[in-house]
Amino acid sequence: MIHRSMARRKMINRLVQALSAAAALAGLFVLAWVLIVVVQRGSAAISWDFFFHRVAPAGVEGGGIANALAGSAILVGLAILFGVPIGLLAGVYLAEFGKHSRLGAVVRFSTNVLMGIPSIIVGLFVYTLLVLPTGHFSAWAGAVALAILMLPVIARTTEDMLELVPNALRESAMALGAPRWKVTLGIVFRAAKTGLLTGMLLAVARISGETAPLLFTCMNSDYWPTSLNAPTANLTVTIFTRAMSPYADWQRLAWGAALIITLSVLALNISARLMLRGKSHV
C-alpha cells in the first residue's frame, strides 16, 4: 500500500462512497416514482361506483371492482384458513421437535427452497391437481395455491420466533407438570405472540398481491362470487386483464385496483415492521 499515494487512496474511497450513496438514492427514487404514479393514476379512478358496483361488461360505461374486492377477500380468507394452521404446526415441529433431527434439517432446507419457487409454478401445480380433474376453475383451487405460497413464510417465521423464547420458560412450565402441547400452545405461543402475528401479516401481504398463481386456478369473473366451485373475481387478475386491454376506461379501473392493492400490501408490511420494532424495544 506504500506505493499508492494517500491522496489517491482517499479519492478512490470518496468516489466509492459517493457511488454507493447514489445507489441507495436510486433505490429510494424508484420506490417513490412507482408509488407516486400509482397514487396519481389510481386516485383518478376512485369513486362511489368503484367500490360498490361490479365490473361492467365490455362497451358499458362505468362499473367498479366491488365483486373483485369480495372475491379477493374470500380467496385470502380461505388461504389463511388452510395456510396458517399448517404453517404454524410445521414451524412448531422445526423449533420444538425437529431442531436437531435429520428430518428437521431436510424440512428446513425445503421450506427455504419452497419460498423461492416461482408463484406461477405453484399455480401450474394446483391446476394439474385440482382444476384438471374437476374440469373447472374454482375459488378452492385459487385459495389452495395462495395457501401453498403462505406456508413456507409462516413456517419459517414461526420457527424463528419460537426460538427467541427462552428455554427456561419451557422448563419451568414442564416442571409444573404441564404436557408438551400445553407448554407450546399456551405458554411458548403466548410469549411469541407478537412475532407470530408479524409473520402472518407478512404472509398475507405476500399473497394479496399475487396474480400468477390465480391465473390458472380461480381465473376471474365479471360477476359476484356465488359459489366456491366456480371461477371467482379477484383484484389482481382483474388488474391484469383490464390493464392489458386497449380501452382507456378499463385501464383507469386497473389503476384504481392497483392503488387498492398497493396500499393494502404496504400497510400490512409497515404494520408488521412496526409491531416487530415495538417488541424489540421491550
Partner: protein, 314 residues
C-alpha cells in the same frame, strides 16, 4: 398447574399426538416439493414423448400445426435474467455497503426499510408501471441513447420500441435489487468488527476494508445472495409479461420483443385447448421449476456454508 385429574399415560398420548401432528405438517412441505415435480412431469409426458430433446432447441411455436419448442422462451428468460443481474448485483453491493459502512443508525433504518418496501410491491404493479411509464420513457430516452453510443453492437440495434427484453431486464433488476441487497447487508454485518477495526487501525480506507476484508470474508454469502436473486428473476411472471412484448422469436437485439417461460405460461395457458399444446406449456413449467430449484438449492448451500463457518445464523 399439575394435571392431577388425568393419568400420566393419557397425557403422554396427547403429547405424542401433538408431536405427530406437527411432524405431519412439516412433512407437507416435503410432500409439496415432491408433488410439484411429479405432477408437472406427469402432465407434460405427452409433450416429453412427442418432442423429446428437440423441445429445448426448437424455435417453432405454432399451435395450429402442433409444433412447440422452448428455445425463444428459454432465450428470453436467460437474457432478461442476465440483464437484471448485470444491473442489480453492483447496485445491491453498493446499497449494502452504504447501509453497513456509511449510514448512521437513523439513515440506515429509514433507507433500509424503504428498500425492503420495494420488495413488497406486487409484481403486477411493477408490470403496470413498466408498461405505461417506464417503457415509453425507455423508448424516448434510454434506448436511443444506447443505440447512439453502442449501436455498433448487434445487441443495441433496431428501433427503440420501449417494450422488449431490455426493458424486462431493467424491471427485473429493480425487483430483485431489494432481495440481493438485504442478504448482502446481513453478510456484511456478520464480519466480526474486530477484523474490520484492525484494518482501519492500519490506516485502510473504508473502500479498502470493504474490498480486502469484508468481501473476502463474506464471499460465499455474496454468491448465495446472487443466486437467490437469480432464482427470483427467472420465475418472475407478471412484471415480465407486461413489458417483454410476448413474441416467440429469438433476436440478437435487446430492443426486440421476446418472451420468457413465465410470460408464455401467463399469456397462453388459458387458451390452450389441444392436449399437446397444454402439455408443452406444462413442460415449460417443468423446465422453469427445475431451473429455479437448482438456483435456490445453490443459494442456500452457499449461505449455509457461510453461516456455518461464521457460527451464526443467517
Amino acid at each position: 398447574m399439575p394435571e392431577t385429574g388425568k393419568p400420566a399415560g393419557k397425557q403422554r398420548n396427547a403429547d405424542r399426538v401433538f408431536q405427530w401432528m406437527t411432524a405431519l405438517c412439516a412433512g407437507i412441505v416435503l410432500l409439496l416439493m415432491a408433488g410439484f415435480f411429479v405432477r408437472l412431469l406427469l402432465s407434460s409426458r405427452l409433450s416429453l414423448a412427442h418432442f423429446g430433446w428437440r423441445f429445448l432447441i426448437s424455435n417453432e411455436w405454432n399451435p395450429y400445426r402442433g409444433e412447440f419448442g422452448a428455445l425463444s422462451s428459454l432465450y428470453g428468460t436467460l437474457v432478461s435474467t442476465a440483464i437484471a443481474m448485470i444491473i442489480a448485483v453492483p447496485l445491491s453491493l453498493a446499497i449494502a455497503l452504504f447501509l453497513v459502512e456509511m449510514a448512521g443508525p437513523r439513515v440506515r433504518r429509514i433507507v433500509g426499510s424503504a428498500i425492503e418496501l420495494l420488495a413488497a410491491i406486487p409484481s403486477i404493479i411493477f408490470g403496470m408501471w413498466g408498461l405505461f411509464i417506464f417503457a415509453p420513457f425507455a423508448a424516448k430516452y434510454l434506448q436511443p441513447a444506447l443505440g447512439k453510443s453502442l449501436g455498433f453492437l448487434p445487441l443495441f440495434k433496431g428501433p427503440p420500441m420501449g417494450v422488449g427484453i431490455l426493458t424486462a431486464g431493467f424491471i427485473l433488476a429493480l425487483m430483485i435489487l431489494p432481495f440481493i441487497s438485504a442478504v448482502m447487508r446481513d453478510v456484511f454485518q456478520m464480519v466480526p468488527a474486530v477484523v474490520k477495526e484492525s484494518a482501519y487501525g492500519m490506516g485502510a480506507t473504508t473502500w479498502e476494508v470493504t474490498r480486502k476484508i469484508t468481501v473476502r470474508y463474506g464471499i460465499r454469502g455474496l454468491v448465495g445472495a446472487c443466486f437467490l436473486g437469480l432464482g427470483r428473476a427467472v420465475g418472475e411472471t407478471m412484471a415480465v409479461t407486461f413489458v417483454i412484448g410476448n413474441r416467440h422469436d429469438v433476436s440478437a437485439s435487446l430492443f426486440a420483443a421476446g418472451n420468457s417461460i413465465a410470460s408464455t405460461l401467463a399469456n397462453e395457458f388459458t387458451e390452450a385447448s389441444e392436449p399437446l399444446y397444454l402439455s408443452s406449456l406444462v413442460e415449460l413449467g417443468l423446465i422453469l421449476f427445475i431451473l429455479s430449484l437448482a438456483l435456490q438449492v445453490m443459494a442456500h448451500y452457499w449461505l449455509r456454508s457461510l453461516s456455518r463457518s461464521m457460527g451464526a445464523g443467517l
